[in-house]
């Protein structure tokens, strides 16, 4: 698709398929129509029903306020698409430009957008995961099931994993006055995302709200009764607790399995893309007709040394969808890079936690405003002397300022104090438990010797 005529013809009567009909897929479809694409649009999604919003599932749905089915996303405009819902895509053939569905159907396209997102990482023992009372929270069915279990008044809930979702669920349990134990392998909650200093604050918050927080422990076994109901959990320190509900909150698994053999640079870490959301092939070369957006996309961010970063952030999904849609119907010269600064939020224990930038891309952190003991503060993250991220607890109105610091590579720690900077504030090491930006394990092998024959092949691992 090189000439302007071809592009115009494509915009008029081309075929676009969007695989993944959640937030990113829907917003991309709307943006495609907004951009003037009048060709055929097909939305493929593994879940039945209209696209819905996920953040409420671990918050207002679990409190019992909002029924899980009441989370359908509002529309910005009509998309006039064909919706193929309830069947997942099972393959992508780039030789013939077809998406294969699990029921055998094949859907042809000129350009395809992949926005298949992530699924909840299941409990590692299948028989234990199947016990009555063991949940993950990713879909609205999951959330509805967990809400019913909470409403039934369990004697104790076990939350496995104290990341954002796990912490939010623990917070809801306390709000509903349900005893809750949180088990986390790391030394503190949120530590993998926000580092040791914030982790300590998060741990304080949990304990102050009556959470039985156990850090540095691993759940080794979920034990059921004869009726297949969860009864007890075992920890690696030999202790046990009696519990009838366990929530597995160990993060997500990117939905890229269906792309095996497609020739795309797709793996457990997502689909590698350029900043224009164009997918890379296995060799790391940019494709022209395959795009990715949302949780499944892994894009370089120039601010962070062009590292490939995938983000499970709501705003990231919306913004990438808009960039991808624009680029799908634009010529090379008119394409946009996705260059926004990541933003994230979590609501737990009555506190609004927000972040801007990439906190894991940092070596030091300093409280720049407010009071940590009061859980009202801003902390700025720095990497090699420049600001790379900030986190606020009930202080969101200042974050735009920190975004500007990140965008302008302002010095870290910020040299001038604000009126409410704590007198004893000084930078401390950010202290993440592991090398968080590094991929885990080899996923490809390289073959050939001559530059013309060097190639990458996928090396799929068993997990």
């Amino acid at each position: 698709m090189t000439s302007a005529d071809n592009l115009q013809a494509f915009k008029r009567e081309g075929r676009i398929v969007v695989v993944g009909a959640s937030l990113a897929g829907l917003r991309a479809a709307e943006a495609l129509r907004e951009e003037g694409f009048t060709g055929s649009l097909t939305m493929i999604g593994d879940e039945l029903g209209e696209p819905y919003d996920r953040p409420p599932l671990s918050k207002q749905v679990l409190t019992g306020w909002v029924p899980a089915e009441n989370t359908k996303l509002p529309r910005r405009r009509e998309v006039d698409a064909e919706w193929l819902l309830g069947v997942p895509a099972s393959g992508l053939d780039l030789a013939t430009n077809h998406v294969r569905l699990a029921d055998g159907r094949e859907v042809p396209f000129d350009r395809v957008l992949i926005s298949t997102g992530v699924r909840g990482r299941p409990w590692f023992v299948e028989s234990e995961a199947a016990l009555d009372g063991v949940f993950v929270v990713r879909t609205r069915e999951h959330a509805a099931g967990l809400q019913r279990a909470l409403a039934a008044g369990p004697s104790r809930v076990l939350v496995i994993g104290a990341g954002f979702t796990g912490s939010e669920i623990a917070s809801i349990c306390r709000e509903r006055d349900i005893p809750v134990t949180v088990a986390e392998l790391a030394p503190a909650p949120l530590v993998g995302a926000l580092g040791a200093m914030i982790g300590e604050v998060a741990a304080d918050m949990q304990r102050a709200h009556g959470v039985d927080l156990r850090c540095g422990v691993k759940v080794t076994r979920l034990e059921g009764d004869a009726q297949g109901r969860l009864r007890r959990a075992h920890f690696d320190d030999g202790s046990t607790i009696d519990t009838d509900v366990a929530v597995v909150a160990l993060g997500g698994v990117r939905n890229t399995d269906w792309l095996q053999g497609s020739g795309l640079a797709a793996g457990v870490w997502g689909i590698a893309c350029d900043t224009g959301c164009r997918a890379l092939d296995l060799n790391g070369l940019v494709t022209d007709d395959v795009f990715a957006a949302g949780d499944v996309a892994r894009c370089p961010n120039p601010i962070y040394e062009y590292r490939l970063i995938s983000l499970e952030h709501w705003a990231n999904a919306v913004e990438q969808a808009e960039v991808a849609a624009h680029n799908m119907v634009s010529g090379q010269a008119d394409r946009w890079p996705h260059l926004s600064i990541p933003r994230f939020w979590s609501i737990q224990f009555g506190v609004n936690i927000k972040s801007v930038g990439v906190p894991t891309f940092a070596d030091e952190v300093v409280v720049t405003q407010g009071s940590v003991p009061d859980h009202r503060f801003v902390a700025a993250y720095g990497y090699r002397g420049r600001v790379t991220a900030a986190v606020s607890f009930n202080n969101a109105k200042w974050l735009d300022h920190y975004q500007a610091l990140i965008e302008t590579a302002a010095p870290s720690p910020p040299p001038c104090p604000a009126p409410d900077q704590p007198a004893d504030a000084k930078p401390v090491p950010v202290d993440f438990p592991g090398p968080t930006l590094l991929a885990q394990g080899a996923t490809v092998v390289v073959t050939g010797h001559d530059p013309s024959e060097r190639r990458v092949t996928a090396a799929y691992q068993h997990r």
Partner: protein
């Protein structure tokens, strides 16, 4: 009616919670929780709340009153 709030934009000004308190509720001082599918009887309040948002983070369905988008399933 359907509503979504871009909570990455939201800065906790609580204007929505003043103007449509049954739909938008503050959880603590700054965090917002809301009903994404409020009753049509709250429509006026929700539109006032959306208009008043200082960061324009509230999206109300634009297809209101028209045919619901196809919920096609594989046939």
């Amino acid at each position: 009616m359907r509503v979504v709030v871009d909570l990455s934009r939201c800065q906790g000004y609580a204007q929505c919670a003043f103007l449509a308190p049954d739909v938008f509720r503050m959880h603590g001082e700054e965090a917002l929780m809301y009903d994404p599918n409020p009753d049509d009887a709250r429509r006026d309040q929700v539109l006032r709340a959306a208009a008043a948002c200082p960061v324009q983070a509230i999206l109300v369905d634009q297809l209101e009153g028209r045919d619901a988008p196809a919920e096609a399933s594989p046939s």
